[in-house]
Amino acid sequence: MGKDTLNKLTTTIINTPSDYARASREIEKSVSLKNINICFLSSYTSEVLNPYIIVELAKNGYKGSLYYAPFNQFEQEIYNPDSGLYLFDPDIVLIHSRIEDSHQNLMMRFAKYSDDELQEISEDIINRHKKMLDGLRNKSDAKIIVINFGNAQMTEDCFTSSPVIQSQRTYIQNLNRSLLELSNKLTSCYVIDYQQLFDHIGLNNCIDPKLFYMARIPFNSSAQIEFGKIISRTIFAIYSSPAKCIVLDLDNTLWGGVIGEDGISGIQLSDEYPGNVFKTFQRAILGLRDQGVLLAIASKNNINDVFDVFEKHTDCLLKKSDFSSIQIHWENKASSIEKISQELNISLDSIVFFDDSPFERDWVRKQLPSVKVIEVPKNPMNYLKALNESKFFDRLIVTNEDRIRADIYQQEQQRKSALNNSVSIDDFLRDLKLVVKIGNSDDVTITRIEQLLSKTNQFNLTTKRHSSADLIKIIRDGGKVLWLSCADRYGDNGIVGVAILVETKHRTWLIDSMLLSCRVIGRKIETVLLAEIVEILRGENAEELYGHYIPTKKNQIVSNFYKQHNFQSTDKKNNFWRLNLKESSIIKPNYIEIVRND
């Protein structure tokens, strides 16, 4: 039933309140969509959003079950441990206290306030949110989504460039900045920018006075549909990981025309129409790279023609070095994508394919169904919109590792070409001048540790997806959460490894989780990590160490990991392995420098 519901949703047009009402009832009957419990705390009648949130979530494979607290009952729901909120046991709590509802004068009579009064009100608002968020976080592990403050819908002065309106907008922006800082300090707390709704459909097109005055509903039905989409998109982004790589075609995708026919001076790429359409698209692609998306090329072309464009065309923003993998030849694009996936060590389902040719898109869809293919519009002016609406690259946080990821892959290519010139693997590794740093998790590193746990599939012994809340509990119960970072002559890779150790009984420890990012496999860093684990545990007077291996479809690479390091199997399935710490040691390679970050 779930599959049918999903198919029906993607093939039928749903755009009126009546369509949404019918579709949401069908979804409520479905059994196989993944359930998410969502609690909505708001200062208005948020129940009207129900069909829109349910239908938009179902399009992404989720079934939302919603509990709407009575309006304006924020504190009552959060501070009372027996409230409807906690009885409902939500996975997600949405908090939306509209400033128009809590501070009517601030929105409609802004000019009457002195600077001091404004400052005081702002502190009040932020303090209230801080207390609510802290209160909620202390009692629940639910993910929290706060909806921030939008510009005033009704003011005494409608002339938008007046100084009063300008200072009111600045005031709201400052409130939003404080709110964002507040939520960044909490684990799993995200902010939706309420202004998005008005940006999408216009401040004046959002309200139906009848609904507001009769039923405390601050938006009309088209704004409700749009808001349902915004909320669902954020929830979806919380539960899914962004695609890792975009594979791009060249002719009529990154520039207009065909390089093999039109030549370097004939292709469309400039600051004037139509070349500026492609130049803008290139800039957006670089924007994806800045957020950690790897760029790759799959093009049927003569490679020298293409490199000429990258080197000599002054309006070509993308350079050869921006791409982590380049497949330019006359073979089919499905095999190009497979090669890219192997070269970058990423799975096919984390790759997005963008090509203007319907033929190529169909071919890839049929050959490699797990690759995400964007339906590219005919008009290049709509490329950006298609990229954005695909949602494949939505991410709620950008870590430092995300910002430098593409550079790291580029360094890896330099390493590989150095490998081709080296005499032996040991010489090569010695020449890399590897430095490994190991430390205990703290407030700064925990986000990256959680990220690695959630997305590492290959070099991962148990694939346990611990959240940061789980990690904090493990540490509180006496366990150890270690991170490993590594650097070499080509650059710093950042944090690339995690190990979690727990004492199961007196002087006996278990490696609950151990993983390494695939880009540093094959340098014996895993051996160093294991050896350091042994040393750290000897410091705790441990006598026995157990390793655990849980096989998955993707972690074949570590099936013999414990065997290779002289652990003894303890069961027929080879899932648990034992090392006697009094008798055995792990021999470390001597070419890696180890630093403890204590």
Binding site: T16, P17, S18, D19, A21, R22, R25, T45, E47, V48, K210, L211, Y213, M214, A215, I217, N220, S221
Partner: protein, 78 residues
Amino acid sequence: MIDDMKLKEVISNVLGVSIEEINDDSSPDNIEKWDSLSHINLVMALESEFKVELSPEDAMDMLSVKLIRMILEDVLKD
């Protein structure tokens, strides 16, 4: 004239009752799911399906299927 099938379909979609259960005398008194929130939802759905704008008074007076039809016909006439 109001398309009667379309009217019943909208009411059925919004209130979650089958089309057969809906007749001219259907009202908040005999359809349990027709509460104040679904009434608002119904008003929004009717506005969108029949491309009309209803006043608060129209919305409040729509207290049976018969009355809904009358008010819609009245508004569409203007």
